[in-house]
């Protein structure tokens, strides 16, 4: 698959260059002038050579279609973003050489940590430092999330696996300790999403673990197509596993409060999870995406318990009343009305779904009107995230795709892993509608691969959002943003506590002259199995400045800051702003 991509790449670039050199079309031709591709892919050139190895040997093991995620986070506190990739392994007792896609990269298989050397004055460049960082998790990797659970000012990692999960505590010097046992955060089941968030406002990040299905080693399932041919099973062939909520005691240990919090009913096959304050009451709620079962919208009652309002709020199933196969999810204010809307990634023949927050705790399936539904029906989207890639102030969307059932034409051509699809990019037109810009998004979006996790972050600290995409049995992609700087921007690291802990869950509003405010939440868990930059970055369009900004902290208090300089990152410390009264306009 790598060879195929490399073979295609020069051709694609050649075609692009031909188009670019040809004369512009007549004004009335209906054809737009060629645009600069928004992203350029160059993972290998930047030092990132990672291939997710799924260990498939041809027995169509369900776990091998799922793939893994990536974390974009500053592991060593040097101010630039590093990359942590989850890795798979063999699923059975066979030798790795028996895998249909022999493993790439260093042995033994383990997750990989790539240090960003931006601060060393060499531009964007990554170095594999897995061994020196004391890492090397060797489970069958699925998801990853980052958060400063011990409040010491650096980001720790929680790793979900097809097998036992792990909590890695950042020592602060770029190395990590496995503290799973001592912290009591282990989970033996097949987990995919995990979310750090402070649900009870005690100042410590708690942990929600989304579990998928019971695929214990002795489970015997053979799934078939209509013709009786073997194919991958879907989640409905197995029992869903219950999720868990772990309460951070503040002493390095966690308590399982799943039952006490009223979450034992959360037994759907979870693949996506995101924090959201959907009812704007200041308490962080949770949205859980289940694969083939109704999704859950757990409203935080503020007393340590949750209630599932998914169905009543119109966000559990699609407009037809049918549950869909939700994989990656993200929350963001795509329509600029000051509340968080949801995007859900789904299977081929289902549309991806947009739930527009109407206020009052009600959502509307806006997939059709937004223009995000119909173009997704041929794709199986795993990773998906809102990002304002052109910094025009409106959230755009990237969807990374790859099937889970064999694609007829690829199987016929003898592909061993016939699940490859093209990723998609959608631009927000600013009126609640999107246009698909995949075709003109450059070579990075023309590759046909089996994409799974994706995460966003400003890797080169230049003020626009870059992308990392994990491919199953194929090379990871690093998409560097080349158009964001055509507009103005401002970014924030939002911290609190004695040691400047990233305040996951903080809700940041930027007020602009003569425009509605922009809102973003500080969060890491987004998309599928992945963790993004906890900083928040706002595109400001052509505006050169902001009037003021507001932070609603996870403890419910609010502070304001006067206008800050655009075109750079600022650190917002809890307590440094001016306390804001309720409903006061800054």
């Amino acid at each position: 698959m790598i060879d195929r991509f490399l073979a295609l790449l020069p051709v694609a670039l050649y075609l692009v260059s031909l188009t670019a050199c040809s004369a512009p079309p007549p004004a009335d031709s209906g054809v737009s002038a060629p645009e600069r591709p928004p992203f350029v892919e160059d993972a290998r050139g930047l030092g990132v050579e990672f291939t997710y190895f799924n260990g498939m040997v041809g027995d169509l093991h369900f776990a091998e279609v799922m793939g893994g995620g990536v974390a974009i986070f500053d592991h060593d506190g040097d101010g630039d973003l590093d990359l942590y990739f989850r890795q798979g392994r063999m699923l059975g007792d066979e030798a790795a050489e028996e895998a249909l896609f022999p493993p790439q990269g260093p042995r033994p298989f383990s997750d990989r940590l790539y240090r960003n050397d931006l601060d060393r004055g060499q531009g964007l460049r990554f170095t594999d430092i897995t061994a020196t960082a004391g890492l090397g998790a060797t489970g069958y990797g699925m998801g990853v999330t980052s958060g400063d659970y011990d409040g010491d000012g650096d980001l720790d990692l929680y790793l979900t696996n097809f097998g036992p999960n792990r909590l890695l505590a950042n020592r602060g010097d770029g190395t990590f300790d496995d503290v799973t046992e001592i912290s009591r955060t282990g989970d033996l089941r097949w987990s995919v999403p995990a979310v750090f968030f402070d649900y009870d406002r005690d100042g410590w990040l708690d942990l929600y673990i989304g579990n998928y299905v019971d695929l214990s080693p002795g489970t015997r399932k053979e799934c078939r197509t209509e013709t009786g041919a073997r194919d991958y099973c879907g989640p409905s062939a197995f029992n869903g596993e219950p999720d868990r909520l772990l309460h951070n005691r503040g002493d390095g240990t966690f308590d399982d409060v799943t039952a006490r919090a009223g979450l034992l009913t959360s037994t759907g096959p979870a693949l996506g999870a995101v924090t959201i304050d959907f009812d704007d009451d200041g308490w962080l709620d949770l949205y859980i995406g289940n694969d083939g079962a109704a999704n859950s919208l757990f409203r935080n009652r503020g007393d340590g318990t949750f209630e599932d309002l998914g169905l009543a709020a119109g966000s559990a199933v699609n407009a037809d009343g049918l549950p869909e196969a939700t994989m990656g999810i993200d929350a963001g204010d795509f329509d600029g009305d000051g509340d968080e809307d949801l995007f859900l990634a789904h299977l081929t023949r289902e549309t991806n779904t947009v739930f527009k927050n109407l206020g009052g705790g009600i959502f509307l399936d806006d997939s059709v009107s937004s223009g995000l539904g119909a173009p997704s029906i041929e794709a199986t989207t795993f990773g998906a995230t809102w990002l304002d890639y052109d910094n025009d102030g409106w959230l755009d969307l990237v969807a990374v795709n790859g099937a889970v059932k064999q694609i007829e034409s690829q199987a016929r051509q003898g592909e061993l892993y016939p699940l490859a699809q093209r990723n998609q990019l959608f631009r927000n037109l600013g009126e609640g509608r999107f246009e698909e810009v995949t075709q003109r998004a450059g070579a990075a979006f023309q590759a046909v691969e089996v994409s799974r996790g994706t995460a966003v972050g400003d890797l080169d600290n230049d003020g626009d959002l870059d992308l990392v995409v994990v491919n199953s049995n194929g090379p990871a992609r690093l998409l560097e943003n080349r158009v964001g700087l055509e507009n103005s921007w401002i970014g924030f690291r939002v911290v609190g506590g004695e040691r400047d802990r990233d305040m996951l869950g903080a809700w940041v509003g930027v007020f602009r002259p003569h425009r509605s405010p922009l809102w973003k939440r500080c969060r890491t868990t987004v998309s599928y199995a992945s963790s993004s930059d906890p900083r928040v970055l706002f595109g400001l369009g052509k505006a050169a400045q902001i009037e003021s900004l507001v932070v609603r902290w996870p403890d419910g208090t609010e502070e304001t800051w006067p206008g800050l300089e655009a075109g750079r990152y600022h650190t917002l410390r809890q307590g440094d702003g001016t306390p804001r009264q309720e409903n006061e306009t800054p």
């Binding site: 033996l188 089941r189 214990s216 080693p217 002795g218 015997r220 799934c223 078939r224 197509t225 209509e226 013709t227 009786g228 041919a229 073997r230 409905s236 062939a237 596993e241 219950p242 868990r244 399982d256 799943t258 039952a259 006490r260 009223g262 034992l264 009913t265 037994t267 169905l311 009543a312 119109g314 199933v317 407009a319 037809d320 009343g321 049918l322 549950p323 081929t348 023949r349 549309t351 009600i362 059709v368 009107s369 223009g371 539904g373 119909a374 029906i377 041929e378 794709a379 007829e408 034409s409 199987a411 016929r412 051509q413 003898g414």
Partner: protein, 688 residues
């Protein structure tokens, strides 16, 4: 014909005579011959991986079409029909690329035939090619403008593409032609909903539901529309009725496609899907078809047996498994299933050999090992059971049920601490296992670990639905909390128990008692009232109610209740004594009736001369002014049992004796809530 392994069949090159003949024929037909229609190759699916019956079917049909195509005398309409039918067959088996090519050839050969663009539209829609599907449907409508399924499908598809201005007129047209087209109503409702016209949406959704009440899918969007209109009651009603049964669209062409998917493999797949979705009847029918098509296929027959068992038809399931074992005598899956069904029928001993056979065939067969262990636990062969469970856990250390079963086995052998550890492990892996959690709670309670018991009971009540005996668990939890002096917690759980099961009398009685301990006497009374109404002759209930009334100072009501109690339970000495004491010494003077009190006390004392009746008699004597007699009576009591009394009772008796000796009656100066209550009731029952 052997199964092709290449990606596609090349179209065969016609033999030279055939070419020559065709040229001459064409020349003869007209001077400017029409070009032969361009047909495309049919991409051949990988037959080798399919069920043999399906592969053969597809191979035969393809060969027949090819044979017709090569026949120099073939007519285009006939070949078009053959390609179309072949397309339908591929379509039925979801071989989309092949189906699309076949439909395309059919359309090329018969451009005026309606079915082929229509079916290709369906196919493309299923593949997600909405634009291509729209084109096909439009082509079909050019050929047959009044076809309701096409209008409905295209209309809905255009709505899905965000083109309501094009889709809605087609749906309206479909309704003009067939006002009972529920699919069109549903689509129009969704369109109205999208543009915020919720009233119109409700009307269309409701009509669709009236036309097809079984289509439970409609309830959810209808509920959302009602919610948007502020009609919460209707919204909640429809939300509760939501389901996944879809609307039917009368569609003969797609009906043909669905009917074609009748081969073994397809039946197996559909059977499997139906089974996974809980549609057991459908699953049975699909598997029956598969067995009919391939009666000697052991796998198919076993799947039928599984579906039959799922449908509750255990006898036939077992018959099918027996046949399966004849076809494949050593199959571990079949043995395991056979054993499981026997066990389900209570034939545990009979099931053991099947499980053992399954394990012989596959020593690592986790399910069979577990089932054998379960049978052995039932048969109280605990050592053997635990040996097999150890093996299960060796194979799969994450097997929660194996831990739970081993825990039960250990508990049966009185190895409680080990059992507790296993329950904990089971729950660590599968926290929603309410049974194990309940067992762990009971075990912890039995071991005297109230804290763990309380914690686990709490989780059980948080997780268990009301129908699963949650009331009793709440009751146990409340009892434990009461023992731990957490009276508020106890009250809470007594109440939860009663909310689930209002007939749980013991919970209500102890709730009343606990509320009394907390001093919440007003809340106590309704509980006792319910208990009294349920059991009018229960003396303890009436005494409890009387206590609460006394503590509240509601002496008039207390008198009435005691009178009613004595009438309902004439043999109750306790109620008589209470009434006598009240009539003697009620703080509410107008309720006193010393003569009646004395009569009752005399009667009680003669019937059963004991401390309470003797003390009551003394009290009544004093109330009637017979202080000397009262003092004598009290002195007799002290002489007889004084040395056996607890200090508090002794003090009381002596105090009252001094009162009587001083010519004073007992207790009249004591108000409610104080020592009077001890006098009235304490000597008999104590405050609680």
């Amino acid at each position: 014909m052997t199964a092709p392994s290449s990606a596609s069949y090349p179209l065969p090159t016609p033999s030279l005579p055939g070419v020559v003949a065709a040229v001459f024929l064409a020349l003869a037909a007209c001077s400017k011959p029409a070009a032969p229609p361009e047909l495309v190759d049919i991409p051949q699916p990988a037959l080798a991986t399919m069920e043999p019956s399906v592969a053969s079917l597809l191979e035969e049909r393809f060969a027949a079409v090819e044979a017709l195509r090569q026949d120099p005398d073939h007519e285009a309409p006939a070949l078009a029909q053959a390609y179309g039918k072949l397309g339908q067959l591929y379509h039925a088996y979801q071989l989309y690329d092949a189906a699309q090519a076949a439909y395309g050839n059919a359309q090329t050969l018969a451009p005026k035939a309606f079915p082929w663009p229509y079916l290709r539209g369906n196919l493309r829609q299923a593949q997600g090619d909405l634009e291509g599907a729209s084109d096909d449907y439009r082509r079909a409508l050019e050929l047959q403008s009044d076809d309701v399924p096409t209008l409905a499908r295209l209309g809905r598809l255009l709505l899905d593409r965000g083109l309501p201005e094009e889709g809605e007129p087609l749906l309206e047209q479909a309704l003009k032609l067939d006002e009972a087209c529920a699919v069109a109503h549903f689509a129009l409702a969704k369109a109205a909903s999208s543009r915020g016209d919720l009233q119109t949406a409700v009307e269309h959704f409701s009509t669709a539901l009236e036309l097809q009440p079984q289509a439970s899918i409609v309830h959810y969007p209808l509920s959302q529309a009602y919610r948007g209109l502020g009609n919460t009651a209707a919204a909640d009603d429809h939300l509760a009725r939501r389901g996944t049964a879809r609307l039917d669209l009368a569609d003969p062409y797609m009906g043909e496609v669905q009917a074609l998917a009748g081969g073994t493999g397809s039946s197996l797949t559909r059977g499997g899907l139906a089974s996974q979705q809980g549609l057991v009847k459908e699953a049975v029918e699909e598997y029956r078809q598969a067995v009919l098509a391939d009666p000697n296929n052991a796998t198919t027959r076993r799947d039928l047996a599984f579906a039959l068992a799922q449908a509750g038809n255990v006898d036939e399931a077992m018959a099918q498994l027996e046949k399966t074992l004849k076809l494949d005598p050593d199959n571990p899956l079949t043995h395991n299933a056979f054993g499981a069904l026997k066990a389900q029928q209570g034939r545990i001993e009979d099931a053991v050999p099947n499980f053992e056979a399954a394990i012989r065939a596959d020593p690592n067969f986790e399910d069979a090992l577990f089932n054998l262990a379960a049978a052995e636990v039932y048969l109280e062969r605990h050592d053997a059971a635990r040996k097999h469970l150890d093996r299960v856990l060796e194979i799969n250390p994450q097997h929660p049920r194996a831990y739970a079963l081993r825990a039960r086995s250990l508990a049966a052998d009185k190895e409680y601490e080990k059992a507790r550890e296993d329950f904990r492990k089971a729950l660590e892996i599968r926290p929603q296992d309410v049974d194990s959690r309940l067992n762990l709670a009971e075990l912890a309670e039995g071991l005297g670990d109230s804290q763990e018991a309380i914690a686990e009971y709490r989780k059980v009540v948080a997780a268990a639905p009301a129908s699963t005996g949650r009331a009793k668990v709440n009751f146990r939890l409340a009892e434990l909390l009461r023992q731990q002096k957490d009276l508020d917690g106890a009250v809470d759980h007594y109440r939860q128990a009663l909310a689930d099961d209002p007939s749980l009398g013991e919970a209500r009685f102890n709730l009343a008692g606990t509320l009394g301990l907390l001093g919440h006497y007003e809340e106590v009374l309704p509980e006792y009232q319910l208990l009294r109404e349920a059991a009018p002759d229960n003396e303890v209930v009436r005494l409890g109610e009387a206590t609460a009334l006394a503590f509240l100072g509601r002496y008039g009501e207390l008198t009435t209740r005691l009178e009613e109690g004595i009438e309902a339970i004439p043999q109750s000495a306790a109620l008589g004594l209470l009434l006598s004491r009240l009539l003697s010494a009620s703080p509410q003077g107008d309720l006193r009736d010393p003569q009646r009190a004395l009569a009752i006390a005399h009667e009680a004392f003669e019937a059963l001369p004991n401390l309470p009746s003797a003390e009551t008699l003394a009290m009544a004597l004093a109330a009637t002014g017979q202080y000397s007699a009262a003092a004598d009576q009290q002195k007799k009591i002290l002489d007889t049992v004084g040395t056996q009394l607890d200090p508090k009772a002794l003090t009381r008796l002596e105090t009252h004796l001094r009162s009587y000796q001083a010519g004073e009656e007992c207790c009249a100066d004591l108000g409610p809530g104080g020592e009077a209550m001890d006098v009235l009731f304490g000597g008999l029952y104590g405050r609680s």
